[in-house]
Symmetry: none
Subunit: 415 residues, 2 copies
Amino acid sequence: MNAEIIAIGSELLLGQIVNTNGQFISKQLADEGINVFYHTVVGDNKQRLLNSIENAASRSDLIIFTGGLGPTKDDLTKETIAEYLGVSLVENKEAMDLIEDYYEKTGQTMSENNRRQALVFDGAEVLPNNNGMAPGIALQQDGKTYILLPGPPKEMQPMFLDYAIPYLKQFGSGEESFIHSRVLRFYGIGESTLETKLIDLIDHQTNPTIAPLAGNFEVTLRLTAKCQSKAEGDELINELENRIFERVGKYFYGYDDTSLANEVMKKLQASDLTLACAESLTGGYYGHDLTKLSGIGQVYLGGIVCYQNEIKRDHLQIPESVLEEQGAVSETCARMMAENIKSLFNSDIGIGFTGVAGPNEMEGKTPGTVFIGIATGAGTKVFPLNLAGSRNAVRSRTVNYGHFYLLDELKQLTQ
Amino acid sequence: MNAEIIAIGSELLLGQIVNTNGQFISKQLADEGINVFYHTVVGDNKQRLLNSIENAASRSDLIIFTGGLGPTKDDLTKETIAEYLGVSLVENKEAMDLIEDYYEKTGQTMSENNRRQALVFDGAEVLPNNNGMAPGIALQQDGKTYILLPGPPKEMQPMFLDYAIPYLKQFGSGEESFIHSRVLRFYGIGESTLETKLIDLIDHQTNPTIAPLAGNFEVTLRLTAKCQSKAEGDELINELENRIFERVGKYFYGYDDTSLANEVMKKLQASDLTLACAESLTGGYYGHDLTKLSGIGQVYLGGIVCYQNEIKRDHLQIPESVLEEQGAVSETCARMMAENIKSLFNSDIGIGFTGVAGPNEMEGKTPGTVFIGIATGAGTKVFPLNLAGSRNAVRSRTVNYGHFYLLDELKQLTQ
């Protein structure tokens, strides 16, 4: 099955935004074993969109459209594709209810053009939008599959994963053997170092294959097996995974779609331990990263953000002498931040972050100098780091190293 | 002059990288007044690349290719286009000298396929590569312009700016006028409501034009004028901007590439006021959003993250009776959080966030119920909100509303 992705929106052609939808969908389709042969971007213009649909229908089996499903007058994706396919548009009750609910709940008045968002192709499958108003649409015609998705990534991505992928699986790729894969996530090791340690496996493995990918300050390995059953695939992957863990197991933290924060939460919940944090250079980022997760309230109490030395002194009880002699960016300060937040908030574990995010030096220390303190019932440890990158890369990496070291401590505590 | 950008590379179709070249070139061409009507991405495959060239030549005057000029076997852009155009490839002496120099300097041995990088179209203009080995090529044929650029952005971008743009200017777009644009950023109003209020302007304006775009929980309007000079463009845009501000000025917060957090920081710095925050449902997100900004240390002191009621009671001095009778998610609690953090941290302004992020109800209140308190020298205000969306949409919107309301208070304070 050969696919083509058509992104619609003049803002893409003006260079105001970049076509991340094309990338996201391509990645997902590659995982499903579906080849993507073309991406096209076209503006909110009926004639040029028709031209793109004709080209796509002449060369691809699966055509995925993103964008142009909104309420405004320049959103004309649905109308144009309906005209090309010769199908009529009908109002979808679920989508209309959702739109009316939204306006009722927020007390805004619904303008007439909002109703257009609830129109779908007659006889097509409707893909619900759990993060916005315009539903998606999937349709088979003349042996080709047409899928329409909204443009905003926060609506498109979950819709694609939750509804479009299952829809595609239902039709199958026409092959008997199937693809089974597992993602291993690593932190604290660079992509090229990881690759060097595994180079013979990467080069000589044929089934499963190993695909390294550098992600958001972490590295993942995707192990992909061709197999006749899930059980056979699991067996092949387990065997390879063991060989990988022998070499780089200490950097591994979780499988598939998890995150470092999620692993920390699961571990705290399983051990019934509470956490509080003291943040300086991260300014609230660590707490934010945890509280993205539903269920974190069971284990996370809160913290103190001490962006200034007076706050460290008055609210975290860091002695003036430590701040003056060793500085706020010091091992001692990180240790005391962790210990003091633990005792002030009466938590089982305290974590403290201090350092220089940049772009300028502080206390004569270079940007990227970071100390993370972790205080538990078993004592306190401080992890010094020397991080590369921009201000926000340093802050992100600090947060992720915090999760990674804490996870390691939790594993040791609960062994 | 209508343009099309063709990016070549299988890594784009596998989703390993995103087509930032398409965005970069589009933005530059828009500034030159050249319309981009299509982007295409195609893999390193001769037949499919030929198909894309044919489509482009049938509909566009200017065709810009990026990628596939490298030394490896799958780089076949030049050979394929040469075949399509019926031109021959000849070795370019300057490019060849550059390649030989590189290998001499680094002491590596040059493999034979590296010579292929120095091949250009016979009779074409060569665009020097100051950041890599493969030169670019520009050619006119049958009234159409073909430009070939390398794929790596650090090579492509300077080559495009330094050589391709001057090359295009030499042929001219046939028009004397140029394009001037300005982006207006709005918060607290939906895209369709904004559009409804401006629909007559959007429909009947021809110069400048108005293009609405929904972004990350905000809406922008791009005003674009065709003009003879920057001064004339500014005058045209100012006039239209005034008409827009008469209707929706209260939702406007800034121009071009700014953000709500950045406007808050600038306003605090200009007024020499300090800020502290008390965060419940946002869990540190507000402080994080501020501390992304370099320079925030001048005005932001820090805060208390009170994710649990005991922390609100013991560290923010919210009376047990308020938490029990009105609840943590209440106007009173938000008011006290703002006032108490202001006095505890001895800041000029205190901001407090409490609410239900979801997915579950809390204290019988539905997800999206949020209160933001802002305490200043002029008194305290509480802003109640009823937000739609997922847990993280509610948290994001809360942070942005916090910035927006605070900005408004700061404007009133400093009038």
